[in-house]
């Protein structure tokens, strides 16, 4: 580490990712460097560690530190109904299209984080009167964030942005209908989440475990480099039924991936794709 700036060098990050791969069998080597470096800097500051070597030492000696490390490393900032216009397209076009040929809908939230997206989805389905027809699977690499997603409790102060998004989505009611305030927390109505199953799953090294009509993987792959984005897209592709839909973040793109031609763009603005080839 450069002493005058506290700057972490690439070689140090390589050493760290190699160590983690060998000891814990997690692969971070193809994470996008700019943000990975920032996250590691943040973790050093948070735990008052001076160098990456000290971090490696801590990971090596403190049994349960690795889980904490993963939680701090992964970015868990999200909102309900992020990009309201996307949720409208989902309600007006995508879900009706899927339901045209099916009586059921299966959905995978790949990288579900603290669960705001799952709740948004459940609300959309509920207001369409088809929540009981949905099978929703939510996965994340971080066990503790999954536990949080399951709980469905959010600080009231976070609800303001969620309310704004919901009203831009033009939902049927008020978001208030779906939670109760207890102290400084909003507790989500558990009946919304009855059809959701949660599991720990690593997009980078995990295997394909099921097939879905709709996969949401929004603003997850932006933390990966292009090589890894490409690999992950292969898994997402395998996890979709033919003519199933894939949604990525509004500023992400598939065009650089080698199997881009196996999808067509359904909505470029909201980055909704349809799998057309196995």
């Amino acid at each position: 580490m450069s002493l005058n700036t506290g700057e972490i060098e690439i070689a140090e990050l390589r050493k760290l990712t190699t160590f983690i791969q060998e000891k814990f069998d997690y692969s971070f080597k193809d994470y996008a460097m700019s943000s990975f470096r920032r996250r590691i800097r943040r973790i050093l500051d948070l735990y008052k560690l001076q160098t990456v070597d000290e971090l490696i030492q801590t990971l090596n000696t403190k049994e349960d530190f690795f889980q904490e490390f993963v939680s701090e490393l992964t970015v868990n900032v999200t909102e309900m109904f992020r990009d309201p216009t996307f949720w409208r397209v989902l309600r007006e076009h995508i879900i009706p299209n899927i339901m045209l040929n099916h009586n059921k809908i299966s959905i995978w939230h790949a990288g579900c984080s603290s669960g705001e997206e799952i709740i948004s989805m459940a609300i959309v389905l509920d207001e369409m009167g088809i929540l009981d027809k949905a099978k929703i699977v939510a996965t994340d690499i971080d066990r503790s964030i999954i536990a949080k997603a399951k709980e469905g409790r959010y600080p009231i102060k976070h609800m303001e942005v969620n309310h704004k998004n919901y009203s831009r989505y033009q939902g049927k009611y008020s978001l208030q209908k779906y939670y109760t305030e207890v102290g400084s927390e909003a507790i989500i109505d558990k009946s919304l989440l009855e059809n959701v199953s949660y599991r720990k799953h690593d997009l980078v090294q995990g295997s394909v475990f099921s097939k879905f009509d709709l996969v949401l993987c929004r603003n997850v792959m932006i933390y990966f480099n292009q090589t890894l984005q490409n690999q992950v897209l292969h898994r997402l592709h395998e996890s979709l039924f033919k003519y199933g839909y894939l949604v990525i973040g509004s500023k992400e793109s598939l065009i650089w991936c080698d199997i881009a031609h196996k999808f067509i763009v359904v909505n470029n603005e909201e980055k909704i794709y349809k799998k057309i080839k196995d």
Binding site: T5, N219, G249, W256
Partner: protein, 198 residues
């Protein structure tokens, strides 16, 4: 004015940050530099998170420059102005591409100028020019510090000229800034650079 040592063709990129009161200066700058300006320009302006459209168009009205909100991992091209999209941080990645991310707000902002500046400083080192314009908070100060540490060139908008000077002031308070310039002077510096690359 500008020292001879700073008038070179070694630079590889320009980063510009701005907030309240920076829109006019930005429009002035973008309308004054030629379409073939030899460096990529990364523009990080505080903006409403839910308004995804209209900003590029507004900036393009008077400018001949190609102005674009990049997609994640888009390759960097000379002469293009990259505007940080609403509700994303924009970072420069090693290997000549741009990364976007949805990390925490910084200085209450996403996009945050500090992220764009720091990442660009890391990649371009002494070959970066950082420009910080008018604004009401302290975003960009740490970024300017990092540019300076990596031996890049640091420029703030003239404190008196800045409509709201908190942002350039914040940088000035923690960094030994190379130049404090009026918008016209920033433009003439960029135009001189443009000549040097010919």
């Amino acid at each position: 004015m500008i020292k001879q040592t700073h008038l070179t063709d070694k630079y590889k990129a320009v980063v510009i940050g701005g907030s309240a009161g920076s829109f006019q200066p930005i429009v002035q700058i973008l309308s004054s530099i030629p379409r073939q300006f030899p460096l990529p320009i990364f523009l990080c302006l505080h903006r409403l998170k839910h308004v995804r459209h209209g900003f590029v168009e507004a900036l393009s009205i008077k400018s001949q420059k190609e102005i674009a909100e990049p997609l994640d991992k888009e390759s960097i091209k000379k002469g293009v102005v990259y505007l940080a999209p609403a509700n994303y941080h924009m970072a420069v990645e090693l290997g000549n591409s741009i990364s976007l991310n949805t990390e925490e707000l910084i200085n209450n902002s996403r996009p945050a100028i500090d992220i764009t500046f720091e990442s660009a400083a890391y990649v371009y080192r002494d070959k970066l020019i950082g420009v910080l314009l008018s604004g009401a908070n302290k975003d960009g100060a740490i970024g300017m510090q990092r540019i300076k540490q990596r031996k890049g060139l640091t420029i703030i908008q003239n404190i008196e000229e800045s409509m709201i000077n908190a942002m350039p002031m914040a940088a000035k308070n923690i960094v030994d800034i190379d130049y404090e310039l009026k918008v016209d002077e920033i433009i003439s510096f960029l135009l001189k650079l443009n000549e040097l690359y010919k």
